[in-house]
Symmetry: D2
Subunit: 363 residues, 4 copies
């Protein structure tokens, strides 16, 4: 850490105008160990106009090249840029001893060939791919504590991984995971398009990329690693009529005779109890009221319960007649799915308490 | 048809205060062959207070027993009552020569044992089960034209059936159909509950009945019949942040080498072209722009495009890497999923043009 | 009417890609006297991609110049173009005997000076301003029946006019009308802007043009004419988290001692009873339950009750302690506020029943 | 403060199951000086089922009588009960030296006669009315620091007061303030009612209490005090299609010749600059782009920018042609409008930094 005498951390945010960039700014402003936040922008807009929630915060944008010149002042730099940009820029910061978390997809694959197959262009910085640590904190805490460069996971990927990690330790589960996720419209970015206008989405839903979402291979990679055998992911994505949050359901075949209570116990053991276990992963283990096939709306987590927070809430259920485990996971796509995870990883990299600046419950 | 000289049809609506009952009233008010609509209610509220969209329509509620006494005046009676009520009441109307469409689940199974297994109580009128015709008009048009008693399908069921009927004619498809459906909150009925208050659902989603939805067996029955082999249905349901409409996705394994164009052609052939084919089932057969894995939001239908109408729009796609067909179907759960289908079936029963009173496009 | 032998009407829609243009297409497709709808577009998109609700309708766009060449085939042309376009194009159609309804602001002021003051540029066709009839059908039915050119009112204007016309006949009301209107986001047009993206508006509201909305002078003109004395309009506008509909409240000082029942009687007399009075203007005259200051949510109309329809619902109330009449009016901004009114006016111009193609209730 | 050796504060929340009660719990859980939160409930539900955002927090409900018995352990008790309950219960806590903040309307009027006129029943504890301090922290900081009993303001009242306090210091403004406020549906409480079901409010708006809202007299009292002359408040309320937040517009006549810049300067002076002025009240003082009557959506604050926070954002504008100042104020009705203000007041009563536990920006 470059920061010295009395001061807190200085953190750069490359790409400060998008939704994830705005969340990085918001969370860093409330982070007790951070004294200076430096977001970049390509345009002329003020922070107030781009992120009206930050009215009066005193933040202002600087051009990315200016931030790069000031690399020596930084402790950490966070990239919330479109895919293809961070891979051209991170090395400069690493060379100055700055810790880097990349929220884009640039460093999520271990090899350059996969990157090219999934994203198209040649990777600009292949020699750093092996060094980058994949940033699901709950699973990679130790490597993250020694990392210089973190590849922050995609929002669908991290939500699905937290939903499935316990289940994949169970023997006899199916080889295919069926994932259906509904994301808020912030997940589609800030570029104005008619299909994403409020008038088009209000009271509706918008499926997309059913022919194969780019997070699919990322997810298959990680889940295959966790399971120790090939896992196929059928990933299905849509935008719902809400701005934030991912409501994700993962279905997996389980051995016949599995009971809901067995699954709940597995998840309870894996993540530990409430705030004393994995702080940010909470399992809803309320008992079912009224028996099978009665509507008990309290069993499944809802997006609203995690909006604005770094939590992932998990609901665990089972269709016993067909032998299918059904895990519902909810996160805020911009927090646990992006900026919150990035700061959680930053905390781990810097040896801070992992939950610093991130403990709040959802309004 | 009882109606004679100069008059139009007289139609009773048993259960006029719920959402489906309100839609029956709305659609019957605009039906050119109907001259009198008689909805029932158990309470004292005026139609204006219960269905504010019908302000000034002149409709008023009568008690169900009064309607029963006036059976001889009726041409048709439509039941939009909770499960368990129609089975005690339809025989009286049939005895008076009144055509009956039951929108509840009372007559959807051919045998009383299945009814008891799925719904709990003993069936009150088992001798009529065999006679009742299952009301997916597009598939059962001929039997419907001769029916006295129609079992209108569940909203999830009809949407999934229209989505899957063509695909199940294809040889080599998988034995399991994975159905994920997001329904508007009108699908949860009018009984006030905290979980369904606006303050709880706004900006959120609400999964329910993942342990086995009651429409699952109904759907397995019908799809097994269509496919000519056992079909297992993994049915997953949620309420989204919209009042009306079902956004349903059905995934089925298809033989390797299947192309999107093959599937599109299958659906085009099955349902015919636009308004000249099956009027109410329309296949979105726009070509993909930009190749695989590019976001083309125009390929999949949206709930907003069918809200308030009797249409089912279908989007057809494929994950070629994993060999999974992906069909998106949208309907209005209260129209094609309930009142609209009921009136479509009524039209067929009475020998009217099937689309009478139902042709309008969505606002 | 140009149309002859056996055929229905041929109607052009200049500007078929916007929200009002889409609604014109939808309503004309369901209009029993119209056999051909010819919408124009500047781009290459298909109707299906621009208006997914019209999937399979068979409509296709043609370029505006092609429509102009075919003027002789048309009975009516409807302009749903940005302000400043119709004034350059209508004369050509009038010269061919085509009836014209302009949904833009080009012909709403009687004099060119006001047009210039409010909208900026010089009027391109000032000699037609005096001839154009302002299209609030309920108030100008007779002139409309003889019109060649109709200036369709703005969506805020027509809603406020229908809300206030009865009250302004009352003597002793205040000189200022305070109008607060919340409009759906379709009211902001189809041009993509970040402020109007779903991610920005969901769960929020967006005030705009509080320094003076352009419909203010239009409204002052008309209300001054109706009242026979100067009326000042304090017009306040916002977009709400819904795609369609205007929820408008108009407050006016009334003489002390005025009672809610007096106001209700005034409105009942002015508009007549339900479907037998002014068909499209319906007064909610339910009695209050529970006395003053109790929440009776049924007294005021809601946007949802008129969405997709040509209705204006009115709620009439009073703050007796402060002597302020409070009128709530709801319309669909794209129907009664645009396309529906335009067709209602078209019907009157052509001698058809005014409600043809427009009678439906809201889903 | 009862709390001693090493411990933090112990805070009771009477009425922990409602929306404000849930927010008190959430904010107190994150308050660094609070070590124990004791919410009460009349029912049997767990905290997890009632407030799913608090999953895993470890909070549990106790019955109100049990809390009363433990009064000696408490430092502060916060009442989030329906009107009429706190006035029967606060004295017991005061007698035990516990500081009390009442979020209900029981102690907002200085005299019992006004309470009876507005709310109906006789006041149960009139001798404490004069002692209770009205809790707009920004205006009453000094008295609050010495208070035992605080009457927390209504959500509409505090939002309107912060919007208008600067303007009422200006000479020559009108005697009537016109307030139009749209509130989230959490503002209507948790009691299930059909009119407040998601299916009824989605895509709509719901006006209510236009005959005279109960916060009207509260507001007239306070504004009259601030202005030093009688102020009449025309208060108009509705629920919008969002769960949280108040979007409030206040219009007041101002002397002719007043400019937007004058008003902005007045507000800037009154509240100070951003985080260095009144921390929770922020004035949007962006310059207008594009001149009068152009849509600059960035000038007015939006509900989304303050959701979940204790901020009030203010937008300041003017209709120069008609001489009307237009102030837009947004708050979260459950935070600055209820639980956040209550904790801000608690902080002041206890001599803590007023912003403790409340500084966060909106997601």
């Amino acid at each position: 850490v470059n920061t010295s005498a009395g001061g807190g951390l200085t953190v750069g945010v490359v790409g400060g105008t998008g939704y994830a960039g705005g969340e990085l700014c918001r969370l860093l402003l409330g982070h007790p160990a951070v004294s200076s936040v430096l977001p970049t922008s390509r345009g002329e807009e003020t922070v107030e106009r781009v992120h009206p929630n930050l009215l009066g915060s005193g933040l202002s944008f600087l051009p990315a090249p200016v931030l790069a010149e000031r690399a020596a002042e930084l402790d950490v730099v966070l990239f919330s840029t479109p895919t293809g940009e961070a891979m051209r820029a991170v090395e400069h910061y690493l060379d100055h001893g700055v810790r880097v978390v990349d929220l884009s997809a640039d460093f999520r694959f271990a090899d350059a060939a996969t990157y090219r197959r999934v994203h198209g262009p040649q990777h600009a910085c292949p020699h750093l791919l092996a060094e980058a640590v994949y940033g699901v904190t709950e699973l990679n805490r130790k490597q993250l504590s020694q990392a210089r460069l973190v590849a922050n996971p995609g929002c669908y990927a991290i939500t699905a991984i937290l939903a499935l990690a316990p289940l994949l330790t169970l023997s006899g589960t199916g080889d295919r995971v069926s994932v259906h996720a509904v994301n808020g419209t912030t997940g589609a970015g800030t570029t104005p398009k008619r299909a994403l206008m409020h008038a088009e989405v209000a009271g509706s839903m918008l499926a997309y990329s059913l022919d194969g979402h780019r997070h699919g291979p990322e997810l298959e990679d990680v889940l295959t690693g966790l399971a120790g055998r090939p896992v196929e992911v059928d990933l299905n994505t849509a935008h719902g009529d809400f701005a934030r949050g991912i409501h994700l359901q993962a279905n997996v075949d389980v051995p016949s005779g599995t009971r809901r209570e067995d699954l709940l116990e597995l998840y309870r053991q894996f993540y530990g109890p409430g705030a004393d276990g994995e702080y940010f992963v909470r399992v809803n283990d309320q008992p079912r009221r009224g028996g099978l096939n009665t509507k008990d709306y309290s069993l499944y987590p809802t997006v609203a319960a995690v909006t604005g927070t770094n939590f992932c809430h998990l609901g665990v259920d089972l269709d016993p007649a067909r032998g299918i485990a059904k895990i519902v996971a909810v996160t805020d796509n911009l927090v646990k799915g992006a900026a919150g995870s990035a700061i959680q990883n930053m905390n781990v990299m810097l040896g801070l308490d992992e939950t610093t600046g991130l403990r709040g419950y959802a309004p």
